[in-house]
């Protein structure tokens, strides 16, 4: 293991160039990552407000409904679209990935820094276009824009939202392209693919999915806009089209997309578990290859979103079978993490709490996914709150937990200041408890048959809905505590050491915050990434 002594960093990437224009035109992947952080977290706040609105309505605390049915449809659409396209898909790759991928492989920057900046601006432009639909003609189709409702019946706001997502898709493609080439071409001397950290393996697999799947989303959305404006009729039965074709095309992207959301999160967990167990990761190769396997198999399972769409039974059977297979690599990772902790020196700082929370919540989410994969069961569960609970367990309980863990873990490195561990623990308690209180009842509701995306429900579901709403407030408090911790750390955090957690990956071998070109001298690698002895 080779590392360079870090100089006391009076110059680092934050003060290397000064002034707002140096941020607007920056080519530094670290600054671009920070900009993504701010943008994504802002959108998370907005999407979260829609969520709180939904839950407030569904709690039926008052005699009058909180919002009308139309407004409810719009709330749930924007909650979904914002969270999926503007928070979770870019979330970890564009923020922590941009910041740490080059550092963890010992590079000075990503392969195409200008493309990186272009990705960020495309993201902003796409966001702006999408959000104009909020002011023009709000969309109420749900984030999946199913035809024929989105093409024939609903307002033209769909065009703006979809166009914005189209542009954000290109941001995603270019980020993926950048990461792929960076991982292949920019590794430091001595770092073979078998020595890159698992976070890099995860980002690499994510990049493959981004490159291969997102173009299909692009053409799907393009066809949707064409259908709406030119009436091309590809999805319109009256003109000979097939609405289910839209679903095929849409889910060909959107299923791999959910793996874009979760793979980087799993990469972070691998890093956290190994650092806070002070032990080399168990099964490095298995975890690495399982990331690639998940990326590959994810392209074969999209039909499990369409079991009741009218697709043929044959297709249903095939998709069901392959979906069962895709859970296997994930389970491999989980068992490897547990084995890593076994006989390690485990400490429970807040990043580790988030990692453990991930393991618990993602297991539940993942297992319920297997229930849904069985097409027979899915007929009962489809479009109920069971599905809603499932994907929130994996996306919030999974990705967002990992994101919080990553923030608390890498905060000292990114900003050179310490973040309060106590606040982190409080945040975790509220998020973890609140999350379970919100979403576990939804499994039960779904099992009883309460449909999703409905603004009203049968009276017998009321008490569980109310419990769920109280949970949503706890989650909100948890994330607000997290926000407070971040701001407090930025404003008044104490000076951070170069390696506060005793990590072995390359980012801990340079100063906090890192210098402009990441390292004072290009590192030469002689050992694996988790070389604890």
């Amino acid at each position: 293991m080779s590392h360079v002594a870090s100089t006391t960093s009076t110059t680092n990437y934050l003060n290397h160039h000064k002034g707002i224009m140096s941020w607007v035109y920056t080519l530094d992947h670290k600054r671009i990552g920070i900009m993504y952080f701010v943008t994504v977290m802002t959108m998370f706040l907005i999407g979260g407000i829609f969520a709180l609105g939904i839950r407030l309505h569904l709690a039926k605390f008052g005699a009058e409904a909180f919002i009308t049915a139309d407004t409810y449809n719009k709330f749930m659409t924007y909650h979904g679209a914002i969270m999926v396209f503007m928070v979770i898909v870019p979330g970890i790759p564009a923020f922590l990935g941009n910041f740490f991928l080059p550092i963890q492989i010992g590079a000075k920057d990503v392969a195409f820094p200008r493309l990186n900046l272009a990705s960020y601006y495309l993201f902003l432009i796409g966001m702006a276009i999408s959000l104009t639909s909020l002011f023009y003609n709000k969309v109420d189709t749900g984030w999946t824009f199913y035809t024929p409702y989105s093409t024939l019946s609903t307002s033209n706001g769909v065009i703006f939202l979809v166009l914005g997502v189209f542009v954000m898709g290109f941001s995603s493609i270019l980020t993926g392209l950048n990461f792929f080439v960076t991982t292949h071409k920019m590794r430091a001397p001595g770092m073979g693919m078998d020595k890159i950290p698992l976070f890099v393996w995860a980002l690499y697999s994510t990049a493959i999915i981004q490159i291969l799947a997102t173009p299909v989303l692009a053409i799907t959305l393009f066809l949707l806009i064409a259908e709406k404006t030119l009436g091309v009729g590809i999805f319109d039965p009256a003109l000979g089209g097939d609405p289910v074709l839209f679903q095929h095309f849409f889910w060909f992207y959107s299923h791999p997309a959910v793996y874009i959301m979760i793979l980087p999160a799993m990469g972070i967990i691998s890093e956290l578990i190994t650092t806070f167990s002070k032990k080399t990761i168990f099964g490095y190769r298995a975890i690495a290859y399982s990331s690639v396997a998940i990326a590959a198999v994810s392209f074969l399972v999209w039909g499990h979103h369409m079991f009741v769409s009218g697709q043929s039974t044959l297709a249903g059977v095939i998709f069901s079978f392959i979906t069962m297979l895709v859970g296997v690599p994930t389970a491999i990772k989980l068992f490897n993490w547990i084995a890593t902790m076994h006989k390690g020196t485990v400490s429970f700082e807040s990043p580790m709490l988030f990692a453990l929370g991930f393991m618990f919540l993602f297991t539940i989410g993942g297992l319920t996914g297997v229930f849904l994969a069985a097409s027979g069961l899915d007929i009962h569960f489809h479009d109920t709150y069971f599905v809603v609970a499932h994907f929130h367990y994996v996306m919030v309980g999974g990705t967002l937990m990992a994101l919080m863990g990553g923030i608390f873990y890498w905060f000292p490195k990114m900003f050179g200041k310490n973040i309060s561990d106590t606040l982190g623990r409080y945040s975790w308690v509220f998020i973890f408890t609140g999350f379970n209180v919100t979403f576990f009842p939804q499994f039960i509701l779904g099992q009883f048959g309460m449909p999703r995306r409905y603004f009203d429900y049968l009276p017998e579901y009321t008490s569980l809905n109310q419990i769920s709403t109280v949970g949503s407030w706890l989650i909100g408090i948890g994330f607000l505590i997290g926000l407070y911790a971040v701001i407090k750390g930025l404003v008044s955090g104490t000076q951070a050491a170069d390696n506060p957690w005793g990590g072995k990956t390359l980012e801990w071998q340079t100063s906090s915050p890192p210098p402009h070109e990441n390292f004072d001298k290009t590192p030469v690698i002689t050992a694996g990434p988790y070389d604890y002895r």
Binding site: Y25, L212, D242, H248, L300, S312
Partner: protein, 184 residues
């Protein structure tokens, strides 16, 4: 007196009409467009500006993207100081290109010719085969894949492979769902 009033009225009327018409209708747009076009021409002209030596000057905004210079720093990280590697780039000869082009033309002729006959369901297959043959020529020679490394080939061909995936599964659904009921 009446002449003045009569002709004066004409004069006033013409003057009061012509002035705004000329001013707003002709001069102002003229001035505005000239300004805009001159602005554009000036802006574009900076790209064609020649410096003293007769070489084109730098693009104005390019210094945003300028990288740092480390002429005074000896550490091995700044490999700017290293000498450029010699590398051979296989250059395909003009003759080869022309032969490939002629083959493509032949392929096109074949495609059109064969389209005049009806082979039933084989129509599509034959057309795709010929198209794929032409595409392969373009890929191997024009796009240089024959002399390129394996990674680039894998990258590009994986695109086709995944396309095949979406086609296979979706077609599978269509074939087993719609075709049987549509009576084809």
């Amino acid at each position: 007196m009446e002449i003045i009033i009569n002709y004066g009225l004409y004069f006033i009327a013409i003057f009061c009409v012509l002035t705004p018409v000329l001013a707003f209708g002709i001069f102002a747009p003229g001035i505005a467009s000239t300004t805009v076009f001159a602005f554009i021409a000036n802006w574009a002209g900076q790209f064609l500006d020649l410096s003293k030596e007769g070489k084109i000057k730098e693009i104005p905004f390019s210094n945003i993207f300028k990288q740092d210079v480390h002429a005074d720093d000896d550490s091995p990280m700044w490999i700017d100081n290293a000498k450029p590697d010699s590398h051979e780039h296989h250059v395909i000869s003009t003759k080869t290109y022309i032969i490939v082009f002629l083959s493509l033309i032949v392929g096109t002729i074949i495609t059109v010719f064969v389209a005049n006959f009806d082979f039933g369901s084989m129509n599509m297959v034959i057309a795709m085969l010929v198209a794929t043959a032409k595409a392969s020529l373009v890929l191997l020679y024009f796009m240089h894949l024959k002399y390129d490394n394996m990674m680039n080939r894998v990258i590009f061909l994986s695109g086709f492979f995944f396309l095949l995936l979406i086609f296979a599964f979706t077609m599978g659904d269509i074939v087993s769902r719609i075709l049987p009921t549509a009576g084809y």
